[in-house]
């Protein structure tokens, strides 16, 4: 019993219900792993992560670093003979991992930046100066330069619970 992993079929069903309905189509040919530029240099094995999802090995998948090594390049999706929506499935499983509290600090920082300015990166006076010098408005007409737009953006994140999920406010 000690080396047995407990399958959680509710996990596989949840992935399918959340939009990963092609999960069961995978017949483990390995075209995905062979096409993966990340797997070429890491322990990330696309075929394996899909198999684990099919088998309901929830903790193996959700707690793994490999889940976050996919750059979403879609090489696997383009070549999959079964048209499994591999990238969509990986992203859905990342959502589940985040719900369980697996979220890198660097990613929390980006969530905080989104809450602050509605953008993934910070923005400062040097860039304002560069923009003005080129004949662009110092603040772009996005949430950065539009207070009402930024408030809408924040309000939506609070409404969906993104602030609590990612630990920012």
């Amino acid at each position: 019993m000690s080396n047995m992993k407990e399958p959680d079929m509710a996990f596989a069903d949840a992935v399918k219900a959340a939009g990963g309905k092609t999960l069961d189509l995978c017949y483990q040919c390995g075209t995905c792993t062979a096409s993966c530029p990340s797997g070429r240099r890491t322990a990330f094995r696309t075929r394996q992560i899909i198999r684990k999802a099919q088998l309901g090995l929830k903790d193996d998948v959700l707690g793994s670093d490999e889940l976050w090594m996919c750059t979403t390049c879609y090489s696997c999706v383009e070549r999959c003979p079964r048209e499994v929506e591999i990238v969509d499935i990986i992203l859905l499983m990342r959502n589940m991992a985040v719900q369980k509290g697996y979220m890198a600090d660097a990613h929390k920082k980006i969530a905080a930046s989104l809450m602050k300015g509605g953008a993934t990166v910070p923005f400062g006076d040097d860039m304002r100066k560069l923009r003005s010098g080129m004949g662009l408005p110092a603040n772009p007409p996005t949430t950065i330069g539009n207070e009402k737009g930024l408030e809408e953006f924040r309000k939506i994140m609070r409404k969906t619970g993104f602030d609590k999920l990612t630990g920012v406010n």
Binding site: W68, T72, M127, L130, T142, E152
Partner: protein, 283 residues
């Protein structure tokens, strides 16, 4: 009648490489197209991070951008593969799934917005290729370029091809053609379609891994004699440009296609925002 598009800026172009924004505005004006600012648009939201964290938030924030364009009566044109990936996918999902659209509209109602499902999402390179076309573009090239360059398509420009139908995902040609219309030569190189490494939240979470991808691309580009990297995505652009501080042995300037066209159309170099680049660009 001038054709117009809603100009979706995203984050990285206006906040890190404003020359890309400036060049796009100038090039489209020169071509006789109107670019309308999408007032108060936010992050696309980023496909690699926001969609990885919470799909419902990603859908709602994306729908807000689509709704702003719809309200202004324009389709969206992006200058970034990441924005294109997110907004295209959000639009596709909402146009196909009425239950999701209804749910998103309940959230948008809180901020006084509504999305009916009428916004098309376009990528500027595909707009130039399909809507503007070779004749109009070539007629505006005042400064034909004689550069040997390496095209980097990035991933979300053509993929997933099942939805995008822009070009062959394994052997695309439209970026190479767009580059060659300026007079420059677009080279072939090993693993040309490979990802830059930055997507999917990998650059922020695991920059060493992202840089391994980039190092391989730089090696292949250098071996083929590429003197510039030409991209259609500010995030790939950032990855190629900034990673060369850490990946030793390379000094290959990184230029967005809009900047390349700005140069070819005779824009002053001072307006291309080249001082924001880590790797010096001396055309």
């Amino acid at each position: 009648m001038a054709q117009k598009y809603g100009f979706f800026l995203g984050c990285i172009a206006p906040l890190r490489y404003p020359g890309i924004e400036k060049a796009t505005r100038t090039v489209f004006k020169e071509l006789g197209y109107e670019l309308v600012d999408l007032e108060g648009a936010g992050c696309c939201p980023a496909p690699g991070v926001v969609r990885s964290f919470d799909e419902a938030t990603w859908l709602a924030l994306g729908a807000r951008n689509l709704a702003i364009a719809e309200k202004q009566g324009v389709d969206i044109m992006t200058i970034c593969n990441g924005c294109y990936g997110s907004l295209f996918d959000v639009a596709h999902m909402l146009h196909e799934d009425k239950a999701k659209l209804k749910h998103v509209n309940e959230i948008l109602a809180e901020v006084g917005l509504h999305y009916s499902g009428n916004t098309q999402v376009r990528h500027f390179a595909e707009v130039m290729y399909n809507d503007v076309g070779i004749e109009k573009i070539k007629a505006k090239v005042k400064n034909p370029l004689t550069l040997d360059v390496a095209a980097h398509y990035g991933c979300h420009f053509t993929r997933p091809s099942k939805l995008k139908h822009i070009d062959d995902p394994e052997r695309p040609h439209i970026l190479d053609e767009l580059i060659e219309w300026t007079g420059a030569k677009s080279l072939n190189y090993k693993d040309k379609q490979m990802c830059c490494g930055s997507g999917g939240g990998v650059r922020s979470r695991n920059s060493a891994l992202a840089n391994e991808f980039t190092a391989e691309k730089l090696k292949n580009i250098k071996a083929a004699g590429g003197k510039y990297i030409i991209d259609v995505c500010p995030f790939c652009h950032l990855q190629f440009d900034r990673s060369q501080k850490d990946i030793k042995g390379y000094d290959i300037p990184v230029v967005h296609l809009a900047q390349l066209y700005g140069l070819a159309f005779g824009m002053p170099k001072s307006e291309l925002g080249l001082e924001a680049h880590e790797v010096k660009v001396n055309f």
